[in-house]
Symmetry: C2
Amino acid sequence: MEEIKSVAIIGVGRVAQHIATELYANGVIIAGIFARDKEEAKRLAAKVKSPVIDKLGKRIAADMILLAVSDDAIQEVAEELGNQKALVAHTSGAVPMSELPDTLRRAVFYPLQSFSIDKQIVWENVPFCIEAENDCDVNALGGLAERLSNRVFVLSSQQRKTLHLAAVFANNFGNLMFEFSEELLSKGQISHEILHPLILETANKVLMQKASESQTGPASRGDIETIKAHQELLGTDNIYRQVYDLLTGEIYKRNHGKEL
Amino acid sequence: MEEIKSVAIIGVGRVAQHIATELYANGVIIAGIFARDKEEAKRLAAKVKSPVIDKLGKRIAADMILLAVSDDAIQEVAEELGNQKALVAHTSGAVPMSELPDTLRRAVFYPLQSFSIDKQIVWENVPFCIEAENDCDVNALGGLAERLSNRVFVLSSQQRKTLHLAAVFANNFGNLMFEFSEELLSKGQISHEILHPLILETANKVLMQKASESQTGPASRGDIETIKAHQELLGTDNIYRQVYDLLTGEIYKRNHGKEL
């Protein structure tokens, strides 16, 4: 296959909607939409001038079938597809390509982005991680991804698993740190907006240098007095204190080569 | 005092240099620079057309004396100042105003920013937290801060302590999460640039909604299979796994109302 010109989409969740709309806007033919919820399928199909696929199991006339369903539904839905000539890709960061039945031409088309808010996505910045079983399919998939984004990466299932884990640290855990800071400010009756510039700066620095080179604060300086004052302020037996002690100990160790 | 027109600066570290330069650029007279390192003092003084203060203990002719020294030097240096008519402010987030001798007109002038890299600071976005002993000094200090920044906050020493702690969570610990993610990617031989858009998005979301509303990922979804796969990938007895378990448990509890 030289070029993917038409895509059928299974699913009507956030990822399905975002990708369907964006592919359509970039001139890709949406060859069909399938979902258990027929009303939702009709609504999305209307937006991207696509037919609705009534049920799975028949041959779908498309260059690619995109399984934009939840991780635990991928295997089941892929099996329901039956025999297909099209390339079949799922959109998950955590699921290996090998979970798709090996009777299919298997692939992965994973946009690394957090789709949690109802805002415009700047697609050209979204990294796409792709995988397929042969170079020809990788190239075709890469061509499709490049219609949406400037950042296309070919990753193995194992690498994608590592990436997904790294993303949990950066995104979910980073966000939890921001959440803790908002809660501490709220208890002190301080507007959380006061921290916004620092949060932006924290993220922006990572784009310019290694995170380890950006580290500042009492633990990296070895300022024991301030650490003690923070611990006293936090009290004991709460999640803030547990996290504070674990992460402060780690930063101290990294910067001073010994335990705090 | 109605307006602070001249400032003497004690210290030649990063904060001292940044603030001296920026005050000078905004038309404030730099009335003197003091540092133990005379060469450094001369160099900074030349940049801001200021005399060098040879030693402490004499009356300094300035509306304000700024102690931009490390936290543990503030008290000692303030005592060396002796009797002063000028407002005396330190620049620390962690040190209460009361650590300055009560013979002085005490104040705090704390820019909440991470000054770790040699890049231009967008001062108008830097939050300034100010504190003084009476309304008149607060107003004068506020006027000075507003020459540099659009974000001026009057905070008590107790509030500033809480803010400083919250900043450790957001900046130091947030940065450590980014550091962990870079290390995991490096082990998987994956370019860490692939995570940059997600890191920026994580920070940008906090500006638009509460961090708790932005949370995504396996722990918040309750996706036990993915959590198990991540734990297996991390192995045991390492800091990544310790942090993963603690933070995943907390996110799960917050989203599902029970222990993982």
